[in-house]
């Protein structure tokens, strides 16, 4: 019975878990809540894998309330969505395991909010309806607001306030663009809107374009694209490691939304609204990449360095995507998976390091010797190599794909130098950080308390992703190629969504 509802399960499972966790659980509730959370995450991994397998036979459409598109809300799990959902699940499990070693006790409701966060993210990946996307954005935002405050502390308060108010303004922009798009196309279903927009001409098309670029702003804000990324570094650097690690997927939601909407609705098939905003993405992406690199080399705190690594990855992906060819899109998706896993791992790793170094925390200065110097150093080396894009781990493959995707002279002349120089800067920055934190230690005995093996295992688990992506680069890249093909030729997507039957109401 469940198989026919497979597509919606990734949303329902964490939602139910969260609701359960909100109930009072007597004397020692955290114990039960942890179990619920972990179970939910394990199930999530399993069913996401199921969705991924199902999606290979074409987009899986699920009509809610049995109202067929475009009238009802539909969930669509095509290859891209399925991959994003699976990625979320794969990231969530280790992060939650890590959190269950006490981080979740730093403030109330962590477990529930964590699940709610997943609901929002996964819903955003799965929904095929623009307004429903807004709703899920709000779900993931409100949970992120709350999670960002996890652990308290004066320092993060302002960063959090900025994040909240900025995103509230962003939501307003989202609603306006929805108003414009509905007003001009008269529909909310993305596939249907693609058809309607392609049919628009003259002023109507222009108005639709106006609505489209506003969407680009909103997604750019989520993705942290210049000049909308300013909120990110401080916010990510201030919050706890687990939350930051979970947020590794948050910017990707923005990237996903851009990939989806600006290939499906405003892509090549958009008639008078075709290829909307690609030029903007190219230039802003490059600028983001440049600024992110400068930020990384300029940071005096390891958390901040990692935050800027996130910014760099965003710039890289959007610039590459804006080149608009299939190779580029495929490269973006490969890189997206890689960077999500490795930044997640880095945030956790820095968190452990900071704890073991005591009061120097994650600042890049001479400090106390780590309790688990060897193993942490190893993990740091691996993740650094991966994130810089040095061989032999997934980073360099992703980078090669991106460099290879640049075709025209102009693209070569701008993308290659920026990407390579930024890798160089990141390399210098991380070498500096690593040598300060692992080599340049005070004499005398190391920190006492070791971190639980489970937390280190969680990090290692995330990093194995990098190894897997290297060893199985070939099948993975062919999968991303398929995704890119889907995105570049959305006809199948559109027809599948619009032609499926609602069921009950016929």
């Amino acid at each position: 019975m469940l198989s026919q509802h497979l597509v919606i399960l990734p949303i329902l499972v964490p939602l139910f878990a969260a609701l359960l966790q909100l109930l009072p659980w007597g004397e020692n509730p955290q114990y039960y809540r942890r179990i619920i959370g972990l179970v939910s995450c394990v199930i999530l991994v399993a069913i996401s894998a199921g969705v991924l397998i199902a999606s290979t036979e074409g987009p899986q459409v699920y009509a809610l309330g049995s109202w067929q598109a475009p009238y009802g809300i539909v969930l669509v799990a095509d290859r891209l969505s399925a991959l994003m959902v699976l990625l979320t699940a794969i990231l969530a499990l280790p992060v939650l395991i890590y959190a269950c070693y006490g981080e979740d006790n730093l403030g109330s409701h962590f477990q529930a909010l964590f699940q709610f966060q997943l609901v929002g993210i996964i819903g955003a990946f799965l929904t095929g309806d623009l307004f429903n996307l807004f709703v899920f954005f709000e779900i993931l935002l409100i949970s992120s607001y709350a999670l960002l405050m996890h652990g308290g502390g004066k320092l993060k308060l302002r960063a959090c306030l900025h994040y909240v108010l900025l995103n509230l303004t962003g939501s307003a922009v989202f609603l306006i663009s929805l108003g414009v798009l509905y007003g001009i196309t008269g529909t909310l279903n993305m596939a249907d809107m693609a058809v309607k927009v392609a049919a628009l001409t003259g002023d109507d098309a222009i108005i639709a374009r106006a609505g489209g670029v506003l969407l680009l702003v909103v997604f750019g804000l989520k993705a942290a694209l210049l000049p909308l990324y300013f909120w990110l570094p401080q916010a990510y650097a201030m919050t706890t490691g687990t939350v930051a690690a979970l947020f590794a997927i948050m910017t990707k939601v923005g990237i996903y939304a851009i990939l989806r909407v600006f290939t499906l609705i405003f892509g090549a098939g958009g008639a008078e609204a075709a290829m909307l905003g690609y030029d903007w993405l190219w230039w802003l992406g490059l600028a983001t990449l440049a600024l992110g690199s400068i930020g990384a080399i300029g940071s005096r705190d390891m958390r901040l360095v990692v935050s800027y690594l996130v910014v760099i990855s965003v710039g890289t992906m959007l610039t590459t995507f804006s080149m608009g060819n299939e190779r580029a899109t495929s490269a973006v998706i490969y890189y997206l998976v890689h960077s999500t896993l490795v930044t997640g791992a880095l945030f956790l790793l820095v968190d452990i390091i900071a704890r073991q170094r005591g009061k120097t925390a994650s600042r890049i200065v001479k400090g106390r010797k780590l309790a688990q110097h060897a193993v942490l150093g190893m993990l740091f080396l691996v993740s650094a190599i991966t994130v810089i894009g040095m061989p032999p781990l997934s980073g360099f493959i992703g980078k090669l794909f991106i460099l290879e995707a640049a075709r025209t002279g102009a693209q070569l002349a701008l993308l290659w130098p920026l990407v390579l120089v930024s890798s160089f800067l990141v390399m210098v920055a991380l070498a500096r950080a690593g040598s300060r934190m692992f080599w340049h230690t005070f004499e005398g005995k190391a920190a006492e308390e070791k971190s639980p093996a489970g937390q280190i295992a969680a990090i290692a688990l995330l990093l194995t992703g990098a190894v897997v992506m290297t060893l199985f680069a070939r099948p993975i890249s062919s999968y991303t190629d398929a995704i890119a093909a889907d995105l570049m030729h959305p006809q199948t997507y559109i027809s599948t969504v619009l032609n499926q039957s609602g069921g009950a109401h016929e």
Binding site: E138, L165, L178, G179, R300
Partner: protein, 114 residues
């Protein structure tokens, strides 16, 4: 009428934007709330303006577009949740930092965190 409506929405938006650009949390929250009003009006009007056409079956022969109304209803509720959260966050900031300024008075100390 359409002109009047558009002007009103524009003015509402402008005023709330001005408030949002203030330096202290309370006016900003007020601004955000008012902005949500403006935005709701905008979204609502995406179904165009119609008088005495309540979308109640049997109530009249022609009906206004019900969908935007439903959307706005959802938007209002979500907006309420967001407003509530932001205002209480503002109170917390005020409580812990002692000031309701959204920016640090000077950024000299922010270097420490970099």
């Amino acid at each position: 009428m359409e002109t009047l409506y558009a002007v009103t929405v524009g003015v509402l938006t402008a005023c709330s934007v001005f408030l949002i650009l203030r330096g202290r949390s309370f006016p900003i929250v007020i601004g955000i709330t008012m902005l949500s009003y403006a935005v709701n009006l905008f979204l609502f009007s995406s179904g165009r303006l119609a008088i005495d056409q309540l979308p109640l079956i049997g109530h009249s022969e022609t009906y206004t577009d019900p969908l935007p109304q439903a959307l706005v209803l959802t938007a209002i509720v979500i907006g309420f949740a967001m407003t509530a959260y932001s205002i209480i966050l503002a109170v917390r900031v005020r409580g812990e930092i002692g000031s309701d300024e959204v920016n640090e008075p000077d950024h000299s100390d922010s270097e420490g965190s970099r």
